[in-house]
Each structure stands twice: as C-alpha cells, then as structure tokens.
Symmetry: C2
Subunit: 255 residues, 2 copies
C-alpha cells in the first residue's frame, strides 16, 4: 500500500497547469520534514476547486506544486456552525481542531456575561483549523469569525437558521430525541450549535436564548461537560443524525 | 447563588461521622488554592458510598473532612468501556478526560499492530480521570486497566458484552442507524467501544475484529478522525442513544 501523498491547503486557484507557490512553512515541511523528492505527488485543496494532485518542485528555497489532475470535485455537505465563548488556549485549540474534524462549517465566537477570556487569537486558531482540515481529508477549512457580543450576534442572526442550544439547566429534550424528531419532520434549515463558556451562560442569557423562536434547547446528559466537550459531543450527535455520516471515508489506497 | 462546595474523590469509606484524611495535594488545593476556612463544606465521593458533605478540618499540614450527610446515593447508569491503543501523551490525556466526562465505565488499552507508543503512564492517566470525575459530578472514577495485546484482550472477552467498532474502512452501518436499531430491539448487554491507533487497525486486525460474533462495525462519517476524536464522538453517540442522556444535570444551586 502506497502512502497517500501529503495534503496541503492553499489559497491559489487550482486549474490544470497552474503553478502554486507554497508558503515557507509548507516548503519546509515537504522538503525537510517529509524529505520529499522533486516531482513527488502532493495533494492540494483550496476550499473552492476540489482536490488536485500535482508535482512538487523547488527553486532555491521556494517550493511550488504544479496542479495536474483533479481528484475530487468540490462537493461537501455543509455542516453546522458552532457558537461558543472563547475559553483558555489549550481547550480552545482542542475545540477548533475537533470541530474541524467533525465537519463544522464556521466558528462564531461570542462574548457572554461569564466569558473571562478576552484574548482570541484568530490567526492561531485558523492555523489549527487548516492543519486539521489537511489531516482529516476535508475539502474546506471552517471560517473563523471575529468575536461579537452575544447580543450583536443574535441581532445579525442569519435567515432560515436554527439554534441547537446545549442547555446546562432547565428543561430540555435529550439531544438524540430532539434531532431524531427534526430528522423525521424533514424540514430543511441551516443550524448553529451553541455551547456556553466555563460557568455556563448567565441565567438571563440562558432564558433569552431558550425563548428565541428558532432555538431548540437540548440536554447532553447528567454530567457537567466542559465547554469544548459539550461542543464536540453536540457536533457528533448532529452529524450522526442530520449530517453526512451515511458516507464513508475515501479509500486512499484504492486505485 | 452559593458556589457549590469543592468536590473530591477519596478512597476511604464514607459513613456518618467518618474522618477522612486527605492527600497532601488535596489539602494544598483546599487550603492554599481555594483558601477554604476550617469548617467549610467539602463534597466527597469514593465510587461506592454516594456523595457526602462534610466539614473541612486541618491539623498542622494534615487536612481532613468529617463526613456528615449523604447527598446522593450511589446510583449511576453504567456507561460502556472504551478499548483503544495508547497514543501520544497530549491526545491520550484528552481522550481520558473527555471519556470520563462522557461517562465511560472503564478504559482498556490494547497494543495493536500499528501502536507505536509504548509508554502508557497509568498513574498519570488515573489522576486525569480522577480530576475529570470530580469536576463533572460523576460518583465514580473509570477504571484504567493495564495494557494488553489485542489478542490477549479478546481471549478474555467478558460475557454478554458487545463491541462497537469504529470501522475506518470497509462497509459499516452509520453509527446512528446501528444504535437506533439496537435501542429499538431492546436487548440488554454491556458494551465496549473500540477505536484504532493512529494509522488505524492493521488490515488483518480489522478483518478479525469485524468478524467477531459480538462486533458491530459502525461508521463515523467521511472524514478521517483522530483516535481521540473517534473515541469521543462514538461515546457521545452511544450515550445519547443507549446511555443516560435522558437525565439532566443536578441543580447544585437548588435547595
């Protein structure tokens, strides 16, 4: 079994014959970490043009790949968004990495009453998301938005979008029952999953969120989950019931 | 709203009037980190006798708690076990922490063909599990077993126990459909979830596992999940459908 080629996210358009200049870090990775030979196959994706194979080239310190063949067309089910309050660096990176693997479409940080982490390093989290997308075979990288206050975010709520609220308190339908009912009803809409910060949403926020006409408060069981655990668990349940988990991974060793 | 009391796992029996000696680290945490006053309430659990409240005391450097009132009886739904190959320290700790929050009953490390991490620091992972159990309101700490080879583990397979196999390749029913069918059939059994190491189970292992009469191979969608992500996702789905997610968290601010 041949090892699948290294997979890189690039910003450039991908069309036959296009020479894609690599970033310094990408060149270093291919040349010095993987010790890739000139001419070796590299897989590229940019979130728009599908996945391409091309040949690695290097000139001085500048690496490039010439796009040669389209391997997969850009057709991916849209996952849900994830609305969350910034948390500490370690758990924040875990949340972004796992949410990317689990097919999140975009990440919406919101500042809530109990959010005590002010620093939100968007560039760093973007790098985490790119790396996770490269490794998990996604054709896109989730968008990471700038933080908004919770009320700003709700004022700009997108049309035809429902909110699956991980409700830490109060009555809530178990997530499985709620999602199975929604699946059976078969009404299409976009989704955003929401988890509170450490310490949860404040009682006022919690009540306000629950009352939104597009909100579905759901329960994630009797244990107190950390914010990132709640996000990963809710995303897993959503994907398994409403998402694309009827599909299997691509067999990279076939053909 | 009063803050809930700190929650500690202890090994001692818990009965009315019992003085429970705390470990050095626990005493340090209560006295120097939380700056708890003598007489303040501490919550204790030991995995057998429910959760107790008691009064913090200190004599020299030795902290103790006198158990006073039973708050919750020891009644917890048994979660599934998790069989996994040891992975690197960071992801390994994430897996143990999140699996504990998600109610895993026991952790069974197995050495597989593609397991390239030989070091399995059971004591350290036990500490991670204890801390997660304290924080997530569990009444028990999952058992962490010593690593066995995959074949040893299967030779000693427990009775009436089914294996939910996160199948990276080959045909597999989507996890939601498989679990919903099992729920509808209503046949009781214990469960162990299994995820492969980085690089997956070897083709021979994969085939062998799929053929086990008690195995249910399931799919977790089209993306390649890291080992710890697959474990967290499978556990979330299992708990949401076959587990105890009909229950809500205890309201610690009530009463």
């Amino acid at each position: 079994m041949a090892k699948p080629p290294p997979r890189l996210f690039v910003e450039s358009p991908l069309v036959t014959g296009e020479t894609v200049a690599l970033e310094k870090g990408q060149t270093h990775y291919l040349k010095n970490v993987l010790r890739l030979e000139v001419g070796a196959t590299v897989a590229l994706f940019n979130g728009r043009d599908g996945e391409w194979h091309g040949a690695f080239g290097i000139s001085g310190n500048a690496g490039s790949v010439v796009a040669e063949t389209l391997q997969r067309t850009q057709s991916e089910a849209a996952g849900p968004g994830l609305m969350f309050a910034p948390i500490k660096k370690g758990p924040m990176e875990i949340m972004v990495q796992k949410a990317t693997e689990l097919g999140v479409a975009r990440l919406n940080p919101v500042i809530t009453d109990f959010t005590d982490v002010v620093r939100f390093n968007r560039a760093r989290l973007r790098a985490t998301a790119v790396e996770a997308a490269e490794q998990c075979d996604r054709l896109s990288v989730p968008e990471i938005e700038d933080p908004l206050s919770l009320s700003e975010r709700l004022e700009n709520w997108p049309a035809n979008t429902r909110l699956l609220l991980a409700a830490e308190a109060g009555t809530a339908m178990p997530i499985f029952e709620a999602l199975a009912e929604i699946k059976a009803a078969g009404t299409g809409s976009d989704w955003v999953l929401a988890v509170g910060p450490v310490g949860g949403f404040s009682p006022a926020e919690h009540e306000m969120l629950r009352e939104l006409p597009y909100a579905v408060p759901v329960g994630l069981g009797p244990r107190l989950l950390k914010a990132e655990t709640a996000a990963i668990a809710a995303l897993s349940c959503w994907q398994s019931i409403l998402g694309d988990w009827d599909n299997r991974p691509i067999d990279r060793n076939a053909g």
